[in-house]
Symmetry: C2
Subunit: 175 residues, 2 copies
Amino acid sequence: MNQWITRASRTLFESRWLRLRQDDVRLPNGDDITYTWVDHGGYVVVVPILDDGRAVMERVYRHTVKRTLLECPSGGLDGEQPIAAGRRELEEETGYTAREWRQLGSFFGAVGTSNERFDVVVARDLRADGQVRREATEEIEVVLVPLAELRAAALRGELEDAPSALAILLATAGA
Amino acid sequence: MNQWITRASRTLFESRWLRLRQDDVRLPNGDDITYTWVDHGGYVVVVPILDDGRAVMERVYRHTVKRTLLECPSGGLDGEQPIAAGRRELEEETGYTAREWRQLGSFFGAVGTSNERFDVVVARDLRADGQVRREATEEIEVVLVPLAELRAAALRGELEDAPSALAILLATAGA
């Protein structure tokens, strides 16, 4: 497999967050096609777990779907390592800091159209001693939800943000 | 929340699979920003379970990440209902048909950059009596993998395609 030959490549659009790439590709059967896809820098999804078993979650307004979703804290890597980015995003979005960090996996979110990848990390030993610094586009309400309740919601299909649902199921797998 | 006002909207690029949309948005704090995002028609992810407890999976070459990934069968909705699309994609990609279909949930895959949504459906009572009809871009090898093995791989972070990992964890939650 995978004898796709990229014969030419161009950037159709570029912003701080993504690049739209268009490649001329020769397929293994000899057909020439054009494949347009999103080049994305990746992000981290944090499952921050309080000592009492609640998780620090967010209700976030998402312009892409015109809805407010319940999500784990997350944010772009900006070229950083996942845990470093997670540390920064957790504090900036929620005001919590954590002393214990563990990475659970790295996943592709939408591989048909994008190379977007996200890392799932769990943060424990939390303190509410950080500094919230949100961007104007980050409309976030912090909510504390028992992990068992989040797991049940994910299994019922009620955590609609897939990376958050996967992160919660991974973080609670041993529970 | 969610007083984002879209003041103008344009399509920067359009293909069969996606549209790149750019909106001029006024944020709740009065700031004017430009938000560029991917408009996608959605897709279905199928967990096809054989009577012997193995799942019908695929090794698929993905140009976006230049890798071959282990995935559940999946495909675009083309305006169809999830189960109708799942029925078609399962047969076209693997040659299997199924008599029992159940929907487990509907999820957003990459909500920061796209409205891409996927439905997870489980197919049972399978027969290898269908007609494989793949597109030239569908470089697929069908593999039969025990569900318990897939679940363990997902929990170890080794099923790197997030929608497939989530689908497997949902389909095996009661197991």
